[in-house]
Symmetry: none
Subunit: 270 residues, 2 copies
DNA sequence: CGCTAATTGATCGGTTTAGATCGAACGTGA
DNA sequence: TCACGTTCGATCTAAACCGATCAATTAGCG
């Protein structure tokens, strides 16, 4: 504020105003995308120190991004930090849940496996089983069992939902409607005693419902971050859930409530 | 060092910042699925040590997976023991074929893609297309296009054949019988002028046939090791093949024979 | 005319980055 | 299983860059 020009008219003298220099810096960065500090200094005819100051100021206003060695347009190289957090967030807990859930599967079973990273971890534990028949709409689950010759994997058809790597839509639901399995292993984004299992997506919910209908037992795989959480669409009501596999960080009150409604609990030690 | 720049116009060598380099590494891995460290270093113009550091950092953020000799997409979607096969065996030829085949696809097309490593490479080139509708029975193809929001991927159902990571059986064939696409991109294990495309497996052949029937044009993707080779089951007769994309090591006489039977040739420069 | 304030330029020390080297670990093939 | 080549990790070196302090020039003002 104080470092501005003394006169707004700027007609009296002809010094190289700081604002003008900064404008040129901005233009250069915009034109080239990325300019080194040295080139910038040469282009505007000032020292690197001055340009460094200017760039720092411009960064403060959010007009460009400062990097080691130069400046770039803002947001050009934005990294997405929230990409794989899901898989590594609670990896050990997921593994413990998956191990425990695998004990609910017997050789010769016919089971269905839904989409999700937890079910993917679960599927990896099934490679030791023999004569297994698995129905799934998850590419990740299918991939995990692909190299296992003693497990027959059947995929539903459908439209690929890239964010969760699973198939949805009426083809998937129809494929499930014609099948019957002993147990369905389903994950979700939230589980409460009142509303049961839920997920934020309509299409995913439909497929999960169809999968639950095709099974005698419904086993829910949910780590503690999902217990007591409710999301938009209900997929399986509590009454239809026969088993819940979770970890020991889950809130006790919700677990007790679920147990009182007939859900058999399996708590893995994290 | 301080080279006398004849003109102080900001037209100098564009700097490559660390963040930008990492972004390019990420793009390269995303585009090719698996890239060796040496290729990565050559592509970004840095030493292998530097690239190794970058890859390690990116792995720390979960943006890619590090393997011995290179990097792959995270989630080990491409868990294969023979890492070398994909990157160096006939990687360049496959890539050239895939590039050329991708030029046969236009925005807004509806296409079908069969199973195979060549078609997988082909699918990776389609991420830039928009408004694409893709039908496939290959998990690898679906996986390659999963993160592309502008491509709608529909999978046939069916039984998973682990060795080729594709779906076979009557559900797959039935799903294809109800569809109609402009072009089908099919690979195989052998292609001769007399018998056309062939594969050693009966179930795979049935699905490939169904895929060819669902398409107006049939495009065969086959590298030179498959040209002139005949395997057990015929999938598509020569008369139904409209395009062949191969590399320039393919035997000329077979190519001429195919061309005389109405197959349009596209020979990629290895 | 002299003083004050402000902006620019220069120098120094610390930090970050890129490249090179060497022992160790891994994968491959016999 | 063993041997060999390749790759990885760690340490080090060199160089570039950044931040801060200080000197110098210039404009403004009493």
């Amino acid at each position: 504020m104080t470092d501005g020009k003394t006169h707004d008219t700027a007609e009296s003298a002809r010094p190289v105003f700081a604002a003008e220099r900064r404008q040129r810096i901005l233009e250069l960065v915009r034109a080239n995308g990325a300019v080194s500090l040295r080139d910038l200094a040469r282009a505007v005819g000032s020292s690197e120190v001055t340009v460094r100051r200017d760039v720092r100021m411009l960064e403060g206003e959010g007009l460009l991004d400062r990097h080691h060695g130069g400046a770039t347009l803002p947001g050009e190289l934005t990294r997405e930090p929230t990409y794989s957090q899901k898989t590594q967030l609670s990896g050990t807990e997921k593994a413990a849940i998956a191990d425990l859930a695998a004990s609910l599967v017997e050789d010769g079973d016919a089971i269905a496996i839904g989409a999700g990273t937890t079910t993917q971890a679960f599927a990896r534990r099934l490679v030791r089983h023999t004569e297994l028949a698995v129905v799934t709409n998850s590419l990740l689950v299918a991939q995990a069992l692909a190299d296992c010759p003693r497990v027959e994997v059947v995929m539903t058809g459908g439209t690929l939902r890239g964010s969760i790597h699973a198939l949805v839509g009426s083809p998937a639901e129809q494929a499930l409607s014609g099948l019957r399995v002993r147990r369905a292993f389903i994950s979700g984004n939230g589980l409460t005693a009142e509303r049961g299992l839920s997920t934020p997506n309509l299409q995913v919910a439909s497929v999960d419902r169809a999968m639950a209908r095709a099974a005698e037992d419904v086993v829910v795989l949910a780590d503690h971050t999902k217990i007591g959480v409710d999301t938009m669409v209900q997929t399986v009501p509590t009454e239809e859930i026969t088993h819940l596999v979770t970890d020991d960080d889950a809130p006790r009150d919700v677990l007790d409530d679920l147990a009182s409604r007939g859900v058999r609990l399996h708590v893995a030690r994290g």
